[in-house]
């Protein structure tokens, strides 16, 4: 068995309830650097809550999330205050949402530069870096375009560039291709995978779409707040991944 480095994210015994509904019910999940993890499940299964807790957007009612970035001390996300979690998300994590959530009044370049500016990077440097990322994602020459002047696929590529600009170790994506047609979706997903796992970074993605999930290296299925299947079950990195109620193990298209 191969020796693996410390996991990038290690979630243990996560629980989260909204009133009487248990969105997370004792979830354990370990994510290693370089993985592309697709989280699937029916609506209300807890997959988005899981992603939000892993990324520090939400705090769990109980449990822990240890984040160990390369060259940095491990950080227990659940013990950080709101300010520190916001900083962590801004500087160490990247996000891509279904509808991009770009600021319509900003140009593509300004949207991408925004996380760097928020972290205090001087504007010329931030915009230059943003321009590089736009070019990498095939949007060279579109720096000054605004949201209304971009197609859905282009806007989502801008969102991907924004997620990458601070060079995060892990990118969280919530239905990143959910609002796109199948052709554009495949192209945007390719760009997302290239720019994350293609560079040795990690991608954690919530999706409803099996075809999208099939392009990831690992598939985690969530139901009723529990992980019911994990294609990495049994592997060292997945310790505990099936501790909830593992009922089946998937081998995805990508790992066959």
């Amino acid at each position: 068995m191969m020796n693996r480095p410390s996991p990038l994210l290690a979630a243990r015994s996560l629980t989260k309830a909204y009133g009487p509904t248990r969105a997370l019910d004792g979830v354990d999940l370990t994510v290693h650097a370089g993985e592309s993890v697709a989280i699937m499940g029916p609506s209300g299964s807890g997959k988005t809550t899981l992603m939000h807790v892993l990324s520090g957007i939400l705090l769990p009612d109980a449990g822990s999330v240890l984040f160990t970035a390369t060259g940095a001390e491990p950080t227990e996300i659940t013990t950080l205050n709101e300010e520190a979690r916001a900083r962590l998300r801004r500087e160490r994590l990247g996000f891509v949402f279904q509808d991009g959530l770009l600021l319509p009044e900003l140009t593509a370049q300004e949207n991408v530069a925004l996380p760097l500016l928020l972290s205090g990077v001087p504007r010329p440097a931030a915009e230059a870096h943003a321009a590089q990322w736009l070019a990498t994602l095939g949007l060279d020459g579109m720096q000054t375009r605004r949201l209304g002047e971009l197609s859905g696929g282009q806007a989502q590529r801008v969102a991907i560039a924004r997620a990458q600009v601070a060079d995060p170790q892990v990118v969280f994506a919530d239905e990143p291709t959910g609002a796109l047609d199948s052709t554009t979706s495949a192209s945007v997903l390719g760009a997302l995978l290239d720019s994350t796992v293609g560079r040795g970074r990690t991608l954690v993605m919530v999706t409803h779409d099996q075809a999208t999930a099939d392009r990831c290296s690992r598939l985690v299925r969530v139901q009723d707040g529990r992980i019911v299947a994990d294609s990495a079950a049994g592997a060292p990195g997945a310790a505990g991944a099936t501790s909830s109620t593992s009922s089946e193990t998937y081998r995805t298209e990508a790992t066959r």
Binding site: M2, H32, G34, E35, S36, H52, S55, I57, E83, A86, R87, L88, R89, R90, E91, L93, F95, F97, D99, L101, L103, P104, E105, L106, E110, L114, P115, L117, L118, R123, R146, L147, G148, E149, R162, S182, S185, A186, G190, L193, D194, V197, G198, D209, A211, T212, D214, R215, C216, S217, R218, S231, A232, A235, P236, G237, A238, E253, A254, T255
Partner: protein, 488 residues
């Protein structure tokens, strides 16, 4: 090793096109078509009946969701209260007897003219808030097949109903605050309850005018947004403010000068008309120049912006300099008159107090009170308008704010952006106005600073208080932002 490199050529998702036309009886539309004598078209009388039914359904549930009615009704309650108090105060001048009755009448009309733009700005903000709060329902209706006419009718009727509810509360607010405002002294005595009471006829007229304004703003607002089955879209393109505005404004100013010169000496009524025309034109001219000026200065701010907050705030303003101006531009003329008038009155009081009749002394004191009060009311109206507009914008862009929070933007940064978006244009207006006041009446202001520093100090205090009020207007919408962020 459990992970493996991702593949970029995963299986494609196949789909079966639904193409082809509906066959009678096989789809919902087909079922409708299959009903004998039941046309699919909703035009004509059928559409009217449909509109009536939709109105009945939605109006019946209008007050069941506080998210829908809470802010608009509150906004119109504020509009109603302030409009009635201002009208009541102004009307009290119309009952003054004596030699100076005509002069007081003229002053009250002048004060009302100065407050027209801030009041229109406030009413407009409240009306826009009405139009935006029903986005989801409007687009859902379009999705279900409701025509544009039905959706627009519903939007306008709902606006008028909510505005009416708010204005009713506004009448209550007027009655509650009447005794307090009535304590302000004019002609040597407090205005009093009797002075502040408009009378039923005028009260109904003011409320009616505000209702018409709500309906008109709602219709105008709907023209600027496109209600589609997929949602309500606002214009994405940044508004351009053309230099032609400046040319038109200069022409307006020249015309005003001609009007004033042509009718130099006349009786009070003619003087009143001259004043209305003569001062309306420069005010309208200023409202042509204002957005252009805000756009030009903010473009410089955007170029120099070195933080995310400054950049986004500048872009916010540049998105629509007209909108930024509408929110705070009403202050320009009021502040100009306030500074120049305050200086003039202070000077008159300090220089000639000894030889003046009691009546004249009272007039000078009243002029000073009136000038400062008008300036303060304009700031209060603007602060309320800012609060309402900001709350509406936060609700409008709730998903965006939540998304920015997830990306790691702090609430403090969001607040800084909102604050700069309002205070930036405000400072532009204030600096422009103060420079204009000093440039045009330097001897008066200079002399007032030397001979009547207390008067100028009072003007400065009102200005500072006004800026603080507008700043509080932004802060008042912070709980709305917090609520939005807490949801998600």
């Amino acid at each position: 090793m459990t992970t493996s490199p991702h593949t970029h050529s995963g299986p494609r998702v196949g789909f079966t096109p639904l193409g082809g036309q509906d066959k009678p009886g096989t789809t919902p539309a087909g079922h409708l078509a299959a009903v004998p004598g039941r046309p699919l078209s909703a035009a004509g009388r059928g559409a009217s009946r449909g509109t009536g039914a939709v109105l009945k359904l939605f109006l019946g549930k209008l007050f069941s969701d506080r998210q829908v009615w809470g802010l608009p009704v509150t906004a119109f309650a504020i509009v109603g209260t302030l409009a009635l108090l201002v009208a009541g105060g102004a009307a009290s001048f119309w009952t003054i007897k004596g030699d100076l009755a005509g002069f007081y009448l003229m002053l009250s009309v002048f004060a009302l003219m100065l407050l027209v733009f801030p009041m229109a700005g406030l009413a407009g903000s409240a009306a826009k808030l009405l139009a935006r709060r029903r986005d989801e329902r409007l687009s859902s209706l379009r999705l279900l097949g409701a025509g544009t006419g039905t959706v627009r009718t519903l939007a306008v009727v709902e606006s008028v109903v909510l505005a009416a509810a708010g204005l009713l509360l506004g009448v209550l607010g007027y009655l509650v605050f009447m005794p307090l405002v009535g304590l302000i002294p004019f002609v040597g005595r407090p205005i009093g309850l009797e002075g502040m009471w408009l009378g039923t006829g005028w009260l109904v007229a003011v409320v009616g005018a505000l209702l018409v304004m709500a309906a008109a703003s709602s219709m105008a607002g709907l023209r600027r947004i496109e209600i589609t089955p997929l949602g309500v879209r606002t214009r994405q393109e940044a508004s351009k403010v053309h230099w032609v505005r400046v040319v038109l404004a200069v022409a307006g100013l020249a015309l005003a000068q001609v009007v004033l010169n042509a009718f130099g000496a006349a009786n009070m009524m003619v003087l009143l008309i001259i004043m209305l025309v003569g001062f309306s034109l420069p005010m309208i001219a200023l409202h042509f120049i204002g957005p252009w000026l805000v756009g030009v200065v903010t473009r410089q701010t955007w170029r120099r912006a070195d933080t995310a907050e400054k950049l986004v705030a500048a872009r916010n303003v540049l998105e629509s300099p007209q909108q930024a101006w509408r929110q705070i531009g009403g202050l320009a003329v009021t502040v100009y008159i306030g500074v120049v008038g305050g200086a003039g009155m202070g000077l008159a009081n300090s220089v000639s107090a000894d030889g003046m009749r009691t009546e004249d002394l009272l007039l000078v004191a009243d002029l000073r009170t009136g000038v400062l009060l008008t300036m303060l009311i304009a700031f209060v109206l603007t602060a309320c308008s800012v609060g309402i507009t900001q709350a509406a914008q936060v609700l409008d862009r709730a998903d965006m704010y939540r998304g920015l929070g997830r990306l790691g933007m702090t609430e403090a940064s969001m607040e800084a952006i909102r604050r700069r978006s309002v205070m930036g244009p405000l400072w532009i207006v204030l600096v422009f106005t103060l420079v204009a006041a000093v440039a045009t009446t330097l001897p008066v202001i200079g002399a007032a600073v030397i001979f009547s520093p207390l008067s100028m100090g009072l003007v400065a205090a009102v200005l500072v208080l006004g800026v603080v009020l507008v700043r509080l207007g932004v802060t008042a919408s912070r709980p709305t932002l917090r609520g939005v962020l807490a949801e998600g």
